[in-house]
């Protein structure tokens, strides 16, 4: 079974040279720590920055320089600031090649829910609806099951949706799966996790073809 850092590390393997990438809050943020050698990606922060750098030192902290998670950060050589409208212009127009975000539920059609639990939690969608409606590649990083042990990979999302038919890939603590043709396709399993365990933890339609390799 994978830890959060391992999920991030696996997603980092999906990055391609020259891509602009938007990383959501939580596990997705950790992907930045594992960008492979020789791969040049530019991180987009939707509050208005391309070229997000690491956290600042205590001495160089700047309240005017934060990421979309409201954390203090730094710039890199070649970074650029812009307003919120330009930020979502580049997102909507598909200039950002990859979005990685967390989810409460994903279903076999690629629908995603991650912003609201009616009557309980309403934090808002932030930029998630714009991002999932626009990016070509959307990878969800999440635990395979919720705290109650119930599957988060469903035949149909039960919570209010963030977007429809948009998620292309999921990396969980148990497996890597692709979504296409109305089903989850098992691509890889986490070290020490059996196909049976993944089957048991997946409520939606799961396609398993041939031997499923360990995660790369």
């Amino acid at each position: 079974m994978l830890k959060k850092e391992d999920i991030a590390k696996r997603i980092a393997q999906e990055l391609k040279d020259g891509w602009y990438v938007n990383l959501g809050i939580g596990i997705p943020t950790l992907v930045a720590n594992y960008i492979p050698e020789g791969i040049d990606v530019t991180l987009q922060s939707e509050n208005g920055l391309l070229g997000m750098g690491p956290f600042p030192t205590k001495e160089s902290i700047d309240a005017d320089l934060i990421n979309a998670g409201k954390q203090t950060i730094t710039t890199m050589p070649g970074s650029v600031f812009f307003d919120s409208s330009d930020s979502f212009a580049m997102i909507r127009a598909g200039k950002v090649q990859l979005t990685v975000l967390g989810a409460m539920e994903v279903d076999q059609n690629g629908d995603i829910a991650n912003w609201k639990i009616p009557g309980k939690m309403v934090k808002g969608m932030g930029g998630a609806m714009d991002l999932v409606a626009s990016a070509e590649n959307i990878i969800v990083a999440m635990m395979h099951t919720n705290r109650a042990g119930e599957s988060k990979l469903l035949d149909k999302c039960s919570l209010p949706l963030t977007g429809v038919k948009c998620v292309t890939k999921i990396v969980t603590n148990l497996a890597v799966l692709e979504i296409k043709d109305g089903a989850f396709h098992l691509l890889e399993r986490a070290p020490g996790v059996s196909v049976e365990e993944i089957k048991a933890a997946t409520a939606g339609k799961l396609i398993i073809k041939g031997d499923i390799p360990n995660m790369i």
């Binding site: 922060s45 939707e46 509050n47 208005g48 920055l49 690491p54 956290f55 600042p56 030192t57 205590k58 902290i61 700047d62 309240a63 005017d64 320089l65 934060i66 990421n67 979309a68 998670g69 409201k70 954390q71 203090t72 950060i73 710039t75 600031f81 812009f82 307003d83 919120s84 409208s85 930020s87 979502f88 997102i91 909507r92 629908d111 609201k116 009557g119 309403v122 934090k123 808002g124 969608m125 932030g126 930029g127 998630a128 609806m129 714009d130 409606a133 626009s134 209010p160 949706l161 963030t162 977007g163 429809v164 038919k165």
Partner: protein, 231 residues
């Protein structure tokens, strides 16, 4: 016309109960903290509709106005950091219209650009699309979003000149330029107010034509929500 006002109280003159305000900022970054504080000291101003990406925290920013029950309705994209907000929303005291962040930015930009509505893919197939026109372009579905204008837009800039030209700093720019465009009256509070000619025309972000009142604020707190460091 003279745009420079002598202090924050003169800047907010004319803001009345029932009005719609736009307030720049993302989280607490780049919020017009001086004007918000001044409005919170005028509790007779109530029933405000506030358009702002976030709703402040319990003891700073728009949290001040929420605590005083001066806000009737919020139009925002993310409101997760404020317990009083959540309490008022779940109890029904506060009306909340959650809007995708990119749509919110474009609603302001379009409102300030004389465009009444636009199609966006964000929110198609979700609650956000309920009651809205949809249309297909090139095989993809879009929803019609109407633009926004405000009675007063209140923005925070790093530098400004007496003609109202503004320069923002780092990610404190965020919603400020588009909200400045969409105000019937736009108030800019700045850290440094300079004379015309001192700002390089090549580097001005918001042309002064969008700004009606400007003043220099003192002693900005610039509270940080997530102080993350490498050491």
């Amino acid at each position: 016309m003279k745009k420079v006002v002598k202090n924050v109280d003169e800047a907010i003159e004319g803001i009345q109960s029932g009005m719609t305000l736009m307030l720049g900022g993302f989280g607490l970054c780049g919020i017009p903290e001086k004007c918000i504080e001044a409005i919170s000291k005028r509790p007779e101003i109530k029933d405000l509709t506030c358009i702002s990406n976030n709703a402040g925290v319990d003891d700073f920013g728009l949290g001040f106005l929420l605590k005083n029950h001066q806000i009737k309705k919020m139009i925002s994209s993310y409101v997760g950091e404020n317990e009083e907000f959540e309490r008022q929303m779940l109890s029904g005291e506060l009306e909340v219209e959650l809007t995708p962040q990119g749509s919110l930015a474009e609603k302001c930009r379009a409102g300030g650009a004389g465009i009444p509505a636009f199609y966006t893919p964000a929110g198609y197939g979700t609650e956000v699309a309920e009651g809205k026109e949809t249309r297909e372009y090139n095989g993809k579905m879009y929803i019609l979003e109407e633009s926004l204008v405000s009675d007063f837009s209140i923005v925070k800039a790093w530098k400004g000149d007496t003609k109202g030209n503004l320069v923002f700093k780092a990610t404190a720019r965020n919603f400020n330029p588009v909200m400045a465009m969409a105000g019937k009256i736009t108030i800019a509070e700045v850290e440094y107010l300079v004379e015309p000619g001192e700002l390089d025309p090549n580097e001005i972000h918001t042309p002064g034509i969008f700004v009606h009142r400007i003043f220099e604020g003192k002693n900005y707190e610039k509270r940080i929500e997530q102080r993350t460091t490498s050491n």
